[in-house]
C-alpha cells in the first residue's frame, strides 16, 4: 500500500535533489573556508588573465609612446605602477568573490538543512512502519 504522505515528502525531496540539490550537494562537499578559498583562488587567476589582456590592449594602444620613451623611461617606476594596478584589480575582484561565494555557501547550507530535516522525517516514517 502506497503511503500518500510519504510519497509527497519524497516527491518534494526528489524535486529539490534534481534541481538545486545537484549544485548544492557539490558545494556541500567542502567546508566553508575551503569552498570560499578555492573560489577566491579561481577568481584571482581569472583577474590575472583579465589584467594581462587589458595590459596588452594598453601596450598596443600606446605602442608608439612606449617605444619613443623606451630609453628614457624608468622601468622600476613602470613596474611599480603596473604592480599597483594589478594588485588593486586582483584584490578588489577577490574581495567581491569572497562576499558572493560566502553568501552563496550560506544559502546552500540553509537549503541542505531543510533537505536533511526531510530525510530524518522520512526515516522516522519508515521506522514507524
Amino acid at each position: 500500500m502506497v503511503d500518500e504522505e510519504r510519497v509527497i515528502l519524497m516527491t518534494r525531496m526528489a524535486a529539490f535533489a534534481t534541481r538545486e540539490g545537484r549544485k548544492d550537494s557539490k558545494i556541500n562537499e567542502y567546508f566553508r573556508s575551503d569552498y570560499v578559498g578555492f573560489e577566491v583562488v579561481k577568481s584571482a587567476i581569472s583577474a590575472t588573465i583579465a589584467f594581462g589582456v587589458l595590459f596588452v590592449v594598453y601596450l598596443i594602444s600606446d605602442f608608439e609612446g612606449l617605444i619613443g620613451d623606451f630609453y628614457n623611461a624608468s622601468f622600476l617606476d613602470l613596474g611599480k605602477t603596473v604592480l599597483f594596478f594589478y594588485l588593486v584589480t586582483v584584490v578588489g575582484y577577490c574581495f567581491i568573490s569572497y562576499i558572493v561565494f560566502s553568501h552563496r555557501y550560506a544559502r546552500m547550507r540553509k537549503r541542505m538543512k531543510k533537505y536533511y530535516k526531510g530525510l530524518r522525517k522520512l526515516r522516522k516514517m519508515y521506522e514507524r512502519d
Partner: protein
C-alpha cells in the same frame, strides 16, 4: 483587473502544461533572431549566411543550456570578423574573453541578457534593458548591460568602417599590423558615447534595483518611474555632451514606451507564480515511484463582504460592511445565533427570522452555512488524522495567513503587498495552506523541505 487576472491564470495554466516546449521555443527564437541579426549586420563569412546553418545552430541552442547562446553568438561574430579583418577579430575575442572571465563566474544565468541588449539596440529600443534588469535582476546585471552596450557599439564601429577594413585587408603587405590594431582598439574602447551610455544604463539599473527592494508600497511603480526619469535625463546629458546619435524625442518616447512595457511585465512577473511541473522518480525497498507533481492553479476570488444584520447586537467598533475572512465571518455568526440568557425564548425565533432575512431564504443561507462551517473544520483538522505534516513551517504559514502578504515566485514570503489584488488573494492562500499537497511543487521546494 479581473480580465488581467484571468489572462494571468490562463498563461499560468499553459505555462505549467507546456513548460518544456515553451523553454525550448524561447531559446530557439532568441538564437534564431540573434544569429539572423548578426548575419544581417556583419555578414562577411559567406558560409554562415546559409539559412540552413542558422537554423541548425538555433536548434542546437534550443537544446543546450542558455549560456551556450552567448557562446554561439560569440563564435558567429568572431567568424564574421575574422573574414573581414584579423585585427577586428582579435579585439572582439579579447572583449569576449574579458566578459567570460570577469562576469560569468558570478552570474551565468544572465547570459540571455547579454544577447538581448545588443538586439534591443539594433531595434532602436535599448531603454527597456536597464529598467527591466533593474526590476528583475540583481546588481550584477550592471555588468551584463555594460557588456551588451560595449558589444553593440563595437559591432556598430565595425559595420560603419567596413570599407576601411577591406582596403587594409587588400593592402595587407604594406599595412602595419600594430597600427591597424590601434585603430580598432581606439574604435572599440575609445568611444565616449559608448562609455557615457553604458554609465547611464548602469546608474539607472542600480537606482531601479535599490528602489524596488525598498519596503514601501508600490515600490515597483516608483522604481519604474524614477528609473525612467533618470534614464531620460542621463541620455539627454550624454547626447548633449558627446554628440551621440540619439534624438531627444526618441529618448523620451522610447523611455515612456519602455516604462509602459515594464509595467505590464511587472504585473505578469511579480503577480504570477510560474510554477513548474515536477517529473521525478525515486525508489524505496518496495516500489519504484514515477511521480508527476502538477502545481494547483488557484483562481482569485472576489473580496467578500458581510452585511450587518442587527446593529443592536453588535459592538459599535464593527463596520457594517467590511471585508473579512472566514474566521471573522464565524464570529459574527456566533454572535447572532447565541442568545443572551435572559431573553433566550423570546429572542430565538426573532433572531432566526433576522438571520434568514439577511442570508437569504434558500441557496444563500446554505452557502452561508458552508462558509461558517468551513473554518471550524479547518480548525479541527490538526487534531485528527488529517493533520498535515508537510504544510508550510509555522513562520511561513503565519505569514501566508496575514492579509497583505505575498509569496514571491521564488517561494519567499514578503509583507510588501498592499494593492487590492494581493489582499484579495491572501484569504485564499490562507485557506489552501493547510490542505495536504497544496504547496507541492509550487516552485518553492527549497523552502518547503
Amino acid at each position: 483587473m479581473t480580465t488581467l487576472l484571468d489572462l494571468k491564470q490562463t498563461i499560468q495554466t499553459y505555462y505549467i502544461k507546456y513548460e518544456f516546449y515553451i523553454s525550448l521555443g524561447w531559446k530557439f527564437l532568441l538564437a534564431l533572431v540573434s544569429l539572423m541579426t548578426i548575419n544581417s549586420k556583419l555578414g562577411y563569412q559567406g558560409v554562415l549566411m546559409s539559412p540552413l546553418i542558422v537554423l541548425m545552430c538555433s536548434l542546437l541552442c534550443a537544446i543546450l543550456p542558455a549560456t551556450f547562446l552567448v557562446v554561439m553568438d560569440a563564435l558567429f561574430v568572431l567568424a564574421h570578423l575574422w573574414a573581414l579583418s584579423r585585427e577586428a577579430a582579435i579585439v572582439g575575442f579579447l572583449i569576449f574573453i574579458l566578459m567570460f572571465l570577469l562576469y560569468y563566474r558570478f552570474a551565468p544565468a544572465d547570459a540571455p541578457a547579454v544577447i538581448v541588449t545588443p538586439l534591443c539596440f539594433a531595434m532602436g529600443f535599448p531603454y527597456v534593458m536597464p529598467l527591466g534588469l533593474g526590476l528583475l535582476g540583481t546588481p550584477a546585471s550592471v555588468v551584463t548591460v555594460v557588456f551588451g552596450t560595449v558589444i553593440h557599439y563595437y559591432l556598430k564601429f565595425i559595420s560603419d568602417n567596413v570599407a576601411t577594413f577591406r582596403e587594409a585587408a587588400a593592402d595587407e603587405a604594406a599595412a602595419d599590423t600594430i597600427a591597424r590594431l590601434q585603430s580598432v582598439i581606439d574604435g572599440a574602447f575609445g568611444n565616449n558615447t559608448m562609455i557615457a551610455i553604458a554609465a547611464v544604463f548602469a546608474v539607472t539599473l542600480v537606482i531601479v534595483y535599490v528602489i524596488r527592494r525598498l519596503p514601501v508600497d508600490h515600490c515597483h511603480d516608483i522604481a519604474i518611474g524614477v528609473g525612467s526619469i533618470t534614464l531620460m535625463i542621463g541620455m539627454l546629458i550624454a547626447s548633449a555632451s558627446y554628440n551621440a546619435d540619439v534624438s531627444a524625442p526618441g529618448v523620451i518616447i522610447g523611455t515612456i514606451l519602455a516604462a509602459l512595457l515594464l509595467k505590464g511585465l511587472e504585473f505578469f512577473t511579480f503577480n504570477l507564480d510560474y510554477s513548474r511541473v515536477e517529473n521525478v522518480q525515486f525508489e524505496d525497498d518496495d516500489y519504484y515511484y514515477y511521480v508527476k507533481a502538477v502545481p494547483k492553479v488557484s483562481v482569485p476570488t472576489p473580496e467578500r463582504r458581510v452585511k450587518q444584520i442587527n446593529r443592536a447586537n453588535l459592538t459599535s467598533s464593527e463596520d457594517s460592511s467590511s471585508p473579512v475572512d472566514g474566521n471573522t465571518r464565524r464570529v459574527v455568526y456566533e454572535r447572532r445565533v447565541r442568545p443572551s440568557s435572559d431573553n433566550f425564548a423570546a429572542g430565538k425565533k426573532r433572531r432566526r427570522t433576522d438571520l434568514e432575512k439577511s442570508l437569504g431564504s434558500d441557496g444563500t443561507s446554505r452557502e452561508a452555512d458552508k462558509s461558517v462551517a468551513a473554518p471550524q473544520r479547518r480548525r479541527q483538522a490538526p487534531t485528527g488524522r488529517a493533520r498535515n505534516p508537510y504544510a508550510a513551517p509555522s513562520k511561513a504559514r503565519n505569514a501566508a495567513t496575514r492579509p497583505g502578504t505575498q509569496r514571491t515566485p521564488q517561494g519567499r514570503t514578503t509583507a510588501r503587498a498592499s494593492s487590492g489584488v494581493r489582499t484579495a488573494e491572501a484569504p485564499r492562500r490562507a485557506q489552501t495552506a493547510n490542505r495536504p499537497g497544496t504547496n507541492l511543487g509550487t516552485g518553492s521546494t527549497d523552502e518547503k523541505i
